[in-house]
Symmetry: C2
Subunit: 484 residues, 2 copies
């Protein structure tokens, strides 16, 4: 029955055992070797194929493992199966395996859902950390954009640190905040989020210690967690983060840093006082603990300008400062900046070049022209006035609908009210029920896993009538869940 | 002499041993305890401070380690040093420590130097992988940009996958290349480099196996190396990457993928033939090996259009396709795209949201309007014609100056000529000497550590007279180094 006139080609780069496997598969597949065919003894087959016994054994072992052959002890090897599904190798890559084994953790499911649902105009967005479209000065921005063609000098790759003209504008801009920074110590980034990403990958070993407010925006990101950074959530009081527990927990030996949002903190809205800023800086000096000052909400004060940035009092280069145009002007520009000691900025610029070869020239030119135009101060005045109206409106609605189910403090600026429910509810259920009712909220537990009493409300985005209606509906939902 | 009337405050959150350290330091600093003062026995001190022996021992051990105290065996503990520099804690964070311990490797020094030196207009750029400014259609781009104000619908955050309108344009654009991709399976990225970054962090575990051409653009990046990916450089012949060695080396058990630049490969310029494309796809099917097809040079053909993309023949979703506007239009836009199976695109979009919340709206609108305008085909025609002139000019100059020191093949498109020097020279020395002479070159060893005979020349960037003069100077330098 066996008249095998084939042998593997030793000149082919395909390994001999794979050639043999393919041959045997083709015999089974074609029906030449039906199920229960007994193969010649291994010694004989090796001879026919002109290969040594171990090569043959490797091929047979793989086919046995695939279920195509079976070995009966003492009686040789038999064809076991000829169904196409076993014979044909699967054609599709198991992408889920690739997705699941990726280095970065996926976003929280709630955040993924928010990222999707924000683009459904039917939803009322009660948690969105973004200016309402009518607070974005579209007409002025458009007139700035229409000037880019006269200004832009190159459509090529930009310098690693970003367009010099923009860095000059930012250098001037932060001078008014009390920060002395030459363009060489400024790095342009695609929003403050990218600043955090560069810091995560550029300045820290895996497993470094991050001190941060509890709750914190940073905890809602998976970025640092993906790199196994150790988060040490530090309590806040109404003056800001408390320094003492940091001193207590900091092990000086290991690489650590403090991440803080001193102005109109996300998600609590707390403004760090001047005294607390001094305490935090003193701590930083005593502990040699570098500080990441995320100051993206600074300009959005409602009642009075906030105290000077930590960076403004940083004589010894311990503070890395992050700013952005997202919260005060337009997130779609994707323009932010990092200010720090030059070796740090050089390092982060190098990582930025490895990520995306620099930020969009168009956005950089638009941002530079915007800052140069002087329009920004008008915009800030307008936004502050509008945020005051929105905040007061939100507080009124809260008084109306939430006074028996939650407590809150009055933010002095920024976007957020950190609502504390009197009775804990399942955050997952609340999020889902709200969404089913067309309300998009930011559950507190994405900022602090244990914050199951909390919601981050934002008064910056929804139109006032929507906000009122949305809050009323939300209160009803919470009432129901409390009694479910 | 010792009248210690102080003891640590147990209510303070600062640990007791640190309070004790600070106290002793203050005593030494003030001169109360001069050098060679003998401290009371530990038992006694512990008693005075009202702490247990181990707390005291911790404090003393740290001060001994700091060099402030010394312990003489059998005779107790003495003050060893009172210089201010030891006493005062250093005020400056050791940023070098942070920079050095960061997760991502720094770029190659040569690449860092290139990134810097490109912005010195005195240098002739013989290696730059970028269109010359006169090949960028600035006037047309400016007219497109001036239309953004009428078009842009939002200055807010964009959808995770990017502006739908742009994805629709790209979907149409790639249809002409033979690729069927709905907008849902397209992700907008800030250039092809970011596509690679997202794939690195989103689809692969640390240490995954990457098959790639040897040499390869990818080897010049530190991205995958930072995540300990295993690079398997595969030889190329003049038809492209060779499939057989991949089959031979691939261990099916582990997570692997093939990264290839089939069109006008960076740095060799090789175009993968149609037959080779079929072989590579067959390999991918047999091995269930996913392919990353980096096709950023596809449109830059000079002699004849290249064969269809691998992605065009990918029935089973094994190919992830990367495109970009950088090489054919403008790198400063920072617009590229990834096309792949939807679960992959969703995953990469999620990682993108974690990196930078999406690409610049301005750039996305500009790219969309550009593609919608139909101007792109004109631009491509113009670039192809100009690249032909530039290639032929470069070849002529090479014939004139390099025929006795190097060999090369004639590229059919793209930007690059992979020069093989007849005698190896130190790449570092060549790079440096060239730069000292105002010539910026891309040494071959950044694409393949062992390529010490090679240079990547580019005929896309330098003005023709500069190119000629630069190549002549470069030949002289190589001659000299050969005989040094
Ligand atoms: C505290 C804080 N930092 C950074 C960001 C990121 O802002 P962007 O990347 O848009 O500048 C945000 C926005 O949500 C934020 O709240
Ligand atoms: C093969 C290849 N892929 C990707 C890139 C990155 O291009 P960009 O990020 O500008 O689209 C380059 C440019 O150097 C390249 O040569």
């Amino acid at each position: 029955m066996f008249s095998i006139d084939w042998r593997p080609n030793k000149k082919d780069r395909m390994p001999l055992h794979i050639q043999i496997m393919e041959y045997i598969k083709s015999k089974i597949y074609s029906g030449d070797w039906p199920v229960n065919t007994k193969l010649p003894p291994q010694r004989e087959l090796a001879h026919i194929f002109h290969v040594n016994r171990s090569t043959l054994a490797t091929a047979l072992a793989e086919l046995i493992a695939d279920g195509l052959l079976k070995s009966k002890i003492g009686s040789g090897i038999w064809v076991a199966n000829n169904t196409w599904s076993v014979l044909a190798s699967p054609k599709q890559v198991d992408w889920n395996h690739y997705v699941d084994s990726g280095i970065c953790l996926p976003n929280f499911p709630a955040i993924q859902e928010i990222n999707r649902s924000e683009f459904n105009p039917a939803n009322i967005r009660l948690g969105t950390g973004e200016l309402s479209p009518d607070l974005i000065p579209s007409a002025e921005l458009k007139s700035i954009i229409s000037k880019i063609p006269d200004k832009i000098q190159s459509f090529g790759y930009e310098e690693a640190k970003g367009l010099l003209y923009l860095r000059q504008q930012i250098s001037q801009y932060v001078r008014d905040l009390g920060i002395n920074a030459s363009p060489a110590s400024i790095l342009i980034v695609s929003g403050a989020l990218q600043a955090l990403q560069l810091i995560c990958f550029g300045l820290l070993p895996k497993g470094a210690n991050i001190f941060l407010e509890k709750p914190s925006y940073l905890s809602s990101l998976k970025l640092f967690q993906s790199m196994s950074m150790q988060f040490h959530g530090i309590p806040m009081d109404n003056e800001g983060i408390e320094p003492a527990p940091i001193r207590y927990q900091n092990k000086r030996q290991s690489t650590s840093l403090l991440y803080t949002i001193p102005c109109f903190h996300n998600p609590t809205g707390i403004l760090m006082t001047k005294q607390r800023r001094q305490d935090v800086l003193a701590l930083s000096q005593q502990e040699l603990l570098p500080i990441i000052e995320d100051d993206v909400y600074r300009e959005l004060w409602i009642d009075a300008p906030p105290p000077a940035p930590l960076k403004a009092r940083d004589q010894d280069g311990r503070v890395i400062y992050i700013g952005s145009l997202s919260k005060s002007l337009s997130p779609g520009l994707r323009i932010g900046w990092i200010i720090g000691p030059e070796p740090v900025i050089e390092r982060l610029a190098d990582i930025k070049m490895q990520n995306d070869y620099g930020s969009s020239s168009l956005s950089q030119w638009a941002a530079a022209e915007w800052l140069a135009s002087g329009l920004h101060q008008n915009q800030l005045r307008k936004v502050r006035a509008e945020l005051r109206i929105r905040r007061d409106f939100a507080l009124e609605a809260l008084n109306m609908y939430f006074s028996d189910i939650a407590t809150w403090t009055i933010p002095q600026g920024g976007f957020y009210i950190w609502l504390k429910l009197i009775h804990p509810v399942s955050m997952q259920k609340l999020f889902k029920t709200a969404l089913d009712n067309g309300l998009l909220i930011n559950p507190g537990n994405i900022y602090d896993a244990l914050a199951n009493h909390h919601l981050r409300l934002s008064y910056s985005y929804a139109a006032l009538p929507d906000m009122k209606q949305g809050l009323s509906r939300l209160a009803t939902i919470i009432h129901k869940l409390e009694h479910a």
